[in-house]
């Protein structure tokens, strides 16, 4: 077997020659030497074979490195795309959930708003009845009746039985009948005794030329509603609702608009 040629003694010259690093005269001299020196010629052939192999290897490795580099770039792009898609999906899901919750809340709100709600008699009473505020201190002072002042103070303080007691102590001579009947009636109504209140309020509403007639009619209508006299309540409150000077006109109309005064089947 032929031993391999050791290129090392020739490598500098061969490399300079092959890489075009020689001057013209050097190159000519080298070419001449190659023609005459078999060893140098064989070394050149071996060098050419070696560099040809190296070119193949360099091509192979270049492609391999380029593909690996491309692979990394594609992976990074894929990861970035996946991240974006995941973020977009998460945002979509979040907004869908938010929209869903809002829709449910809205639906619930609408249902609560529109659902048929039947009030209990007490709730309806509290909601629709506008009590008499009672006479103020100044107003009672003007009337000059100390018992009335006391009764009104007790009424305003919610002490209805006491207010009623005081009202009963007022003599007919000390206070006009319409006021006496009216305030006794409203105190009884506030106390929850609508049936008793009714008779006082009827009388108050029938006092000729009284300024309290309109107000007495409202409270009478309310007392009739409270005691279940629905047709009578309707009639009384319609009168109130038709009277533009009645301070309770709006309240009477409000109640009449409901079905609360219609007889239940």
């Amino acid at each position: 077997m032929t031993p391999p040629i050791d290129l090392r003694p020739y490598l500098d010259e061969l490399e300079r020659f092959a890489d075009g690093q020689m001057s013209e005269s050097e190159q000519a001299a080298f070419e001449l030497r190659m023609e005459q020196d078999e060893q140098l010629s064989a070394a050149y052939e071996a060098y050419e074979r070696f560099t040809a192999d190296l070119r193949w290897v360099a091509g192979h490795e270049t492609l391999r490195h380029r593909l690996i580099g491309l692979d990394k770039r594609l992976d990074q792009r894929q990861q970035a795309l996946t991240r974006i898609q995941r973020r977009r999906r998460r945002t979509q899901v979040r907004w869908t959930v938010v929209a869903g919750v809002l829709a449910v809340l809205l639906g619930l709100g609408i249902w609560l708003w529109l659902r048929p709600h039947t009030m209990s008699p007490d709730e309806a009473w509290t909601y629709y009845y506008t009590p008499e505020p009672g006479l103020s201190k100044a107003a009672t002072r003007k009337k000059g009746n100390t018992l009335l002042s006391e009764a009104m103070l007790q009424y305003r303080n919610g002490q209805y039985p006491e207010a009623l007691q005081t009202m009963r102590r007022i003599s007919e001579a000390g206070l006009s009948p319409d006021s006496l009947y009216y305030y006794t009636g409203v105190v009884l109504l506030r106390q929850g005794d609508a049936a008793a209140a009714r008779s006082y309020l009827v009388r108050a509403s029938r006092q000729p030329g009284s300024a309290l007639t309109g107000k007495a009619l409202y409270h009478l209508g309310m007392a009739q509603w409270r005691t279940g006299l629905l047709p009578q309540a309707q009639t009384t409150l319609r009168t109130v609702a038709a009277d533009s000077r009645n301070p309770y006109q709006r309240q009477a109309r409000k109640l009449l608009r409901t079905k609360l005064l219609q007889p239940q089947p």
Binding site: M1, P3, P4, D6, L7, R8, L11, E15, D19, Q21, F50, T51, D53, L54, R55, W56, V57, A58, G59, H60, E61, T62, L63, R64, H65, R66, L67, I68, L70, D71, L74
Partner: protein
Amino acid sequence: MFFVFVISGAVTQPLAETLTHLRVGNQTFLIKFYQENRNLFARWARRQHQLEPAAAHELLRTVLVEFYDQVADGRLTKLPPDLRAYVYGMAAQNRQTTQTETDILPAAEAGRRRRLLGLFTQLTTDCQQVLMFFYFRGYNFEKVAGKMGFANATVARLQKSGCLRRLYDLHLRTQQAASPAGS
């Protein structure tokens, strides 16, 4: 006659031109092929060989480098009409070889180059890069210096010379080890 073949149904390129480009070291064709077929190939490899995407990508790279070697060696003188089918066939063959043989048995005619490839990978990364730039890309010393960040062309020439010597020393040592009767 004008031959045209199709890569992934979109890119067309004259056959003869592709081979010529590859032979003179223009690898763009294979780079593009990899870029366009990587995901498709990974799906195929998953179905056919139960390979994870990363392993499938590596297999495709190996096959494309082997394909390039065949063209560069002159083992492949005619481009297959359906390159994708050919590459997939090579991949399937590669898988079978890997499964049945543990050692790579290079073809006799490529043995010398394969050995040199093994030695080449023992060089430093910078040396590999310099030799690839000079011997494959055909860059002059000035460009090699620019690419590698060397001070000037002379430094690049000296670096390249040193790297070539290191590779040759490795090559010589291997040759001497293979034929102890020599030297």
